[in-house]
Amino acid sequence: MRLEDFLLMRHELLLTLIAIIILIAEIFTDDFKKQGIRPLSIILMAIVTIVGFLPAPTGTLFGGMYQATDMRLMMKNILNIGALIVFIQSASWLKSDDNQNKVSEFFLLLISTLIGMNFMISSGDFLMFYLGLELATIPIAALAAYDRYSNKSSEAGIKLILISALSSGILLYGISMIYGTVGSVYFDKVSVAYGATPLQIMSFIFFFTGMAFKISIVPFHLWTADVYEGAPVNVTSYLSVVSKGAAVFIFSIMLVTVFQNIAAMWKDVMWITAAITMTLGNLFAMRQNNLKRFLAFSSISQAGFIMLGIIGGSELGMAAVVYYILVYIFSNLGAFGVIAAISNASGGKENMSDYDGLYKTNPALSLTLTLALFSLAGIPPVAGFFGKFFLFTAVAEKGYWWLLTIAVLNTIISLYYYLLPVKAMFINKAETSIAYFKSDGWTKVGLIICVAGMVIVGFASVIFEYIRTLSFGL
């Protein structure tokens, strides 16, 4: 192994490096200098994100255990962008008195989950995959319980850790069956030897169930709303965007490569679950009043839409999935950013009725939220429209007309509830709407990045074309 080989792992190594730098800064500074840790972490994360985009070699390491392809690097870059935006958005929230003395822990835990996700995406065998998955979920549970004095936050932490332990157990049982029938944990060996014996089908079902919990696909989604509601807003936004994105990435990679021999079967399974996920997510989202719960159910139904691209399975489908996640990161983080800013400024107001007449008092925030919701719904001028369009094309290309019909119907339903907050902000009259407040610099930067992302990613067709060129190699 030569020293240059480590260039392949630069995402993980750099993230580990900045985690160590932040840890050292936390250990060896006194309370006064700790103020610097917030900007330090954000700047370091920005550097890592930019460095990630530099061209670099691809290949495999550790005997196939670690794989770096252009597509996987792109996925890691997208996750880095999402994490960076979450970092920026959390900056003003972390300044409050309650959180003063655990600022660096917030960053450290987020970075360690990001390291886990990166290793998971690059994994070439089930062992690294599982290890990355654990590293990506355990610290997040601690972050969900970050608000130590809020019962709901603790409840969210407990629910998250229990549900991820359960799903990891199911997943691991499936993996052990795969190992039992194939005799290897390396993806390339498994994909060749994987057939359709009853035990192998069963192992796939276990594997699918475990992953479905992580992505919150419908029969396994019950934890989502409670956790999203209870956790602090910034953690929720990370959970709904970056964690989910990473799980979708590795799931789609594994379905297309490892389980390619039973593609016909998993496409049927995905077909049904995708249809149920979109529909039920939408129906429940309509009835929510708390905006965090609202976005939780909206993210469930978005997961259903993302599955369309995986079912498409073609190289267009993969590109559509990756592109959609990129768009989804900007849109969802934009929405959560506004909710976080308002919640912090108004002392925890998160209900839809609190937003009545917001346009009069806070026009900029209202417009940002509107744009984000438009993008989530898929209304033409913003990027979300193109994301959904490519997903639908991928399904239509393979001739899944019924599924396409269901998806289009669901898009129309979703228009209704995505416009509810917009109606509250612009049309509803309120005697006491949330007073005008000035958000600080970090929040502004975070929201501006999201808005710019939603607009630019939609109009610059270069980005989609670029992702599409990568998706050949996976």
Partner: protein, 116 residues
Amino acid sequence: MSSESLILFFIVGVFLVGGAIVFSTFVPPSSVNPNKSDTYECGIPTKGLSWLQFNVGYYLFAILFLIFDVETVFIFPWAVVMKQLGMVAFIEILIFFVILGLGLLYAWKKHALIWE
């Protein structure tokens, strides 16, 4: 370990433990007295339940113990082949140690290692 020795071990274990219990039930003279099952401590009857809520510090110590317990598991195989692999093994364990050592330093700095 062959299975025969395991079986022998198992039978002897069951016999010794079970035998001791059976022996002590039947052989010694028994005298039942309510005072015997009373609380022993200082002779004062306890008020309320004697279950106490533990300090959260125990949990912290337990989890730190567990983490370094797992670390030991990984160091042990390393120690066996350390001489054989030389420099490579040294670098690999150095990374492992530095990361976990920083964790220990962090716990120290956060006063997780002292009793409050």
